[in-house]
Structure formats: C-alpha cells, structure tokens
C-alpha cells in the first residue's frame, strides 16, 4: 500500500461530515445531473395542475384521435382524444407521491424496528428479524398483490402495500449498522456518563445510520415507483381514467397497432424518473460510503 500524505486543510475551511459529503458528491457529475432532474420532476409534479395545456381526464379532442405528436399536442393524442402531454405531467404527481410516501413510511418503521432490534438484541431482535424473514418470504410484488386482494384496488392501498414491503429492507440495514455502532467507544462513553437508552439510540446511534438510510431511500424510490406502476398496469392500482403511468400503459396496450406513441411517452416517463433516482442513489452511495475512497 502506498501512503499518500493528506493535504493539510486550510484554516478557514473546517471539515464537517456535511462538507466532506458535498465535496465528494460534487465530483459525481452524473449523480449531480440526476439530482437536478429529480428536483425538476418534483417541481413539475407540484406545479402541473397550473400549467398543463389541457384537462388530463376530461378534455376530449374528438377530431384528432390517435394523432401523432404536434405543436398543439406535444406528445400526441390517445385513442379517446385526451392530450398525452397533460396526462404524463399529471401522472408525475401520482408516481412521485406514491414513491416518496411509500418509501418514507417503510423507512420510518424499518429504521425504528432496526434500531430497536440492534440495540436491545435478544428477544426483541429475534421477534423483529423473524417478522422480516416472513415478509422476505414473499417476493415483493406478490406481497403487494396479496395486500391489494385483501384491501381492494386503488392507489391508496398500493402505497400501503409498497410501504409494508419496504420495511424489512430498512430494518435489516439499520439493525446491522446499530450492532456495529453500539460497541464503539463513543457509545460506551455516553453510557458511562449515565445517558439513558433514548439518548444513546437517538443522539449517538441513529445519526450513524442516516447515511445508509439515505442511500437506500433513493434506490428504493425507483423500485417503489416501478412496483406501483406495475400494480396499476395489471389493473390493481390506479384505475382509468386516472393518468397514472402504469395505468396509461395498460390502456395503451389495446391500440398498440395503430398508436404506439400512446405507450411511448408514459414508458419514457417511468424510465427517466426511475433512472434519475437510481443514478442519484449510486452517487449518494459513492459519496457516503467510506469504503469507496480507495477505489
């Protein structure tokens, strides 16, 4: 191993974990672009209702059914006469919301369970990890289908289903981190000065798990968006005429021969959105994972 002398930090530049992260993240140009694209998508999703050119569900242009993209309809018109551009924009709201909300719920419960299992060990650990094993015993989308079969279809239930199957991933991840953090000296030190369990877990252990949770959060959003869209595609999620991307593709299937462009734009929308979250997640991982440095 060749040892390189680290450059001495200038006096006015204090190295905090945050500035370290930002310094490494900035170098990942692809991830920075992906991050900007994600922000752009979020803004589009929030503002869509104010600037879509047509009503996504109730505007029907009967004179240009199945029309190809044009100046009046940027992404063309679907077989019912609806403007695809407006529908794709409004669909961004549904897909992003489904992705964010379901992963946030999964991360919240998963992190809490992981901290509990890792910190308490013993009986708590066994019960929680067994519960995760059981959730893992169902392939992801199957679990979601089972839940939708019980609760009924619709986007709300899809979000619940996707949240539930995000829980074990976060629980395992956080448990592993907690187990390795709790034997470090700073936790020992906190214990020795009489800090109670809550303080130790929330102030000393939880911050150490955030990096991993953030990386998984971004990568899971991609998976969750695909799962939610898949459920809508097989008819168990958002129902027509809701402009959800998966549901739009399902509607487009009937007329693929005459109007392939109806399927093209929702496909591209899902692909670019998920791609952006995955590239962002990869970049975050590279910036937050200390192991990467030596590569």
């Amino acid at each position: 191993m060749s040892s390189v002398v680290a450059p001495v930090a200038s006096t006015e530049h204090v190295r905090t974990p945050w500035s370290e992260f930002w310094r490494k993240f900035k170098r990942q140009h692809v991830a920075v672009v992906a991050g900007m694209f994600v922000m752009f998508l979020v803004i589009v999703a929030i503002l869509a209702p104010w600037f879509v050119p047509y009503d996504a569900e109730n505007f029907f242009d009967y004179d240009s059914l199945n029309a190809r993209p044009s100046a009046a309809h940027w992404f063309g018109v679907d077989p019912l006469g609806r403007d695809i551009f407006s529908r794709v924009l409004m669909g961004a709201r549904i897909s992003l919301a489904a992705g964010f909300v379901s992963v946030a719920i999964g991360a919240l419960f998963g992190t809490a369970l992981g901290l509990l299992a890792g910190y308490k060990e013993g009986w708590w650990d066994r019960v929680i990890m067994r519960f995760c094993d059981v959730l893992f015993a169902f392939p992801g989308i199957l679990l979601a289908i089972g839940i939708v079969a019980i609760l009924g279809g619709g986007m709300f239930n899809v979000i619940i289903a996707v949240s539930i199957f995000s829980i074990p991933t976060f629980a395992r991840l956080v448990r592993g981190n907690t187990l390795s953090l709790k034997h470090l000296t700073f936790v020992e030190a906190a214990k020795s000065v009489g800090a109670n369990d809550w303080t130790i877990v929330l102030r000393h252990i939880f911050p150490g798990t955030i990096a991993a949770v953030v990386v998984y959060f971004s990568l899971r959003i991609g998976t969750s968006i695909i799962t939610a869209a898949s459920l809508s595609f097989i008819g168990m999620g958002a129902q027509p005429p809701t402009p959800e991307w998966g549901a739009m593709l399902n509607e487009a299937r009937a007329d693929m021969m005459n109007a392939p462009h109806v399927a093209l734009f929702p496909s591209l929308a899902i692909f670019l959105t998920v791609l952006a979250f995955n590239l962002l997640g990869d970049g975050l991982r590279d910036a937050l994972d200390p192991k990467i440095d030596r590569r």
Partner: protein, 306 residues
C-alpha cells in the same frame, strides 16, 4: 455438512408456520363472510349455510387451521370458485410454462450479467465499463411491462420475426424471457462488477500476476472463483425477483402461467386460487433460498462452522 443442512431445515419451521398462518388468515381477513364469498353472490342463505358446513367454516379457527394444513400437505387447496375445479389441478396446468420461463430468463440473464460484470471490472473506468454500467443502470430502471411492450412492438408487430402471445414453441419463449431477465442481468452485472473489483485488489491476485501468469488465467482462475461466492447468493435472491416479475410479464405476453392465473384470480375474487398460489410462490421462494444457502456453504466452508 449434513448437520448444517438439518440445522437450516429446522430453522425454516417457524417461518413456514408463520407463512402458513398468514395465508390461512388471508381468507378471514377479507371483508365479508368467507362462506358467502365461496358460495357466490346469488346463493340463498340455505346454500351459504351448506357451504359453510362443507368448508368447515363453522368450526373454531384453530380447528380450521389444522384442517387447512393437513389439506395442504395432501395437496388439497380447495376448489376454485370460478371453475369449480380443484385448485391443485388449476395450478398444475399453469406450473410448467412459468417454471420454464423463469429458468430461461435466469439462464441468459446470469450468463450475460456476469460477463458484463467481469468485463466492466477488468476494464474499469474505461469504455467497456462505461457501456456495461450504462446498460446495467438502464436495465434496472426500465420496468418489465414497458420493455415487454417495446420488444413486442419491434420484433413481433413491425419486423414480424417472433410470435406475440402464447407458449407453444421455443420461439414464444424468446421475448418473454428477455423481458423477464433484463433487470436480473442488470443487477447481476452491477453486483459481479463490484465483487470483482474488490477481488482484483487482493494480495493473492497481485501475487498471481507477479508470478507471471497470463492475465486471462489471473482473471478467470483467481478472480472469478472467489468473486462467485457473493454472486451465488445474489443469484438466489434474484430468483425470487423473477417469480414476482413473471406475474407482470405473463400479463404482457398473455402467458398461460401461474402469474396470469393469479392476476385473473384477483380480478374474479377467486380466493382459494389466490391462497394456493401465494402459498406456492412463497414455498418456492423459501426453498430456493435454502438451496442457495446450502450452495453457499459448499463453496465457502467457513459458513458451515458458525
């Protein structure tokens, strides 16, 4: 080794039990009376009572559970509400199309994924790596149903090279298995690459090079063998992913498999069929994970003695 397998098998019992209880409870968690669901919407109260007796729904829950488990152990999953045929018959007809589709997808995606991963690791940060990893990240970002529609549009509709739907000949398998395997190939490529990059930095790889061995021998013999250990585990996890993915792909290609059966059953509220399929899918997944663990122990002896 035998001891390890026995230990793993015993460890499965609690998981199996909980999965069994969940699948059993499934029918009871549904809104409404299970007997009415089974009898159909037009049944008279007398018929519903008859069905309730017939299905044993008038007994206590523990009694029903024992009955359910002993039925399952004998291959009896009840009867389909829709076709009135035994669920086991329904599933048996659909099993092999899904099985072969999954195997075909697994075979190509693991082969291609590992080749892409090794090539990317060996030429790290140069153009083969960039091309390989761009393909891989695209593969995990493109949803299977959209990919299936695109492939069908190009190769079946426009070019007319391949059939669109059905499962009659090997040509029917090409597009669905490509669609199903794409994400797995991408994940395998990313995983193999990172595992391989680690291995190539190990001391024994440097020693092998220092001895003057040909680079191809270093990569294939010293590198690949050691990189395989985590890759095999990943492969097992991906099998579960394929089982789930087959549900969506079968809808796109109208494939006569279990996934399609499940979606139809959910549509028609055919609960015995859903119950049987969910149980079967989970059992398969658990079994595959067990096989992977055992394989892992075969490759890596340190696991056995933990």
């Amino acid at each position: 080794m035998l001891q390890y397998i026995v230990k793993r098998l015993l460890g499965l019992i609690p998981t199996l039990l909980i999965v069994g209880v969940l699948v059993f409870m499934f029918v009871h968690l549904l809104p409404g009376d299970p007997a009415r669901l089974a009898a159909g919407p037009d049944a008279t109260p007398a018929t519903v009572d008859l069905v309730r007796k017939d299905l044993g729904l008038d007994k206590s829950l523990p009694e029903q559970f024992v009955r359910f488990v002993s039925g399952v152990l004998q291959g009896d999953f009840g009867r389909s509400v829709r076709t009135k045929r035994p669920v086991s018959t329904e599933i048996r007809e659909r099993f092999f199309p899904t099985f072969w589709l999954t195997i075909a997808a697994m075979a190509w995606s693991v082969t291609i994924g590992m080749i892409l991963g090794v090539v990317s690791a060996v030429w790290r940060n140069r153009w083969p790596d960039r091309v390989g990893m761009t393909l891989a990240v695209s593969g995990i970002s493109f949803p299977a149903f959209a990919l299936g529609m695109v492939l069908m549009q190009i190769f079946s509709v426009q070019l007319r090279w391949l059939p669109t739907i059905g499962a009659d000949s090997w040509r029917h398998y090409i597009l669905p298995s490509l669609t199903l395997g794409a994400a797995v190939a991408a994940i395998m490529a990313r995983f193999t690459r990172s595992s391989f990059v680690d291995i190539l930095q190990e001391d024994y790889v440097r020693t092998a090079r220092a001895k003057g061995l040909a680079e191809s021998v270093v990569v294939l013999k010293h590198g690949l063998r050691n990189a395989l250990i985590p890759v095999v585990t990943m492969m097992g996890l991906q099998f579960g992913f394929l089982l789930g993915g087959s549900i969506v792909v079968e809808v796109v290609f109208n494939w006569p498999g279990m996934g399609r059966l499940l979606v139809d059953a959910v549509d028609m509220r055919d609960y015995p069929v859903i119950q049987g399929l969910v149980l079967l899918f989970s059992l398969e997944f658990i079994l595959i994970n067990l096989i992977v663990d055992v394989l892992y122990a075969v490759i890596n002896p340190t696991i056995r003695y933990r």
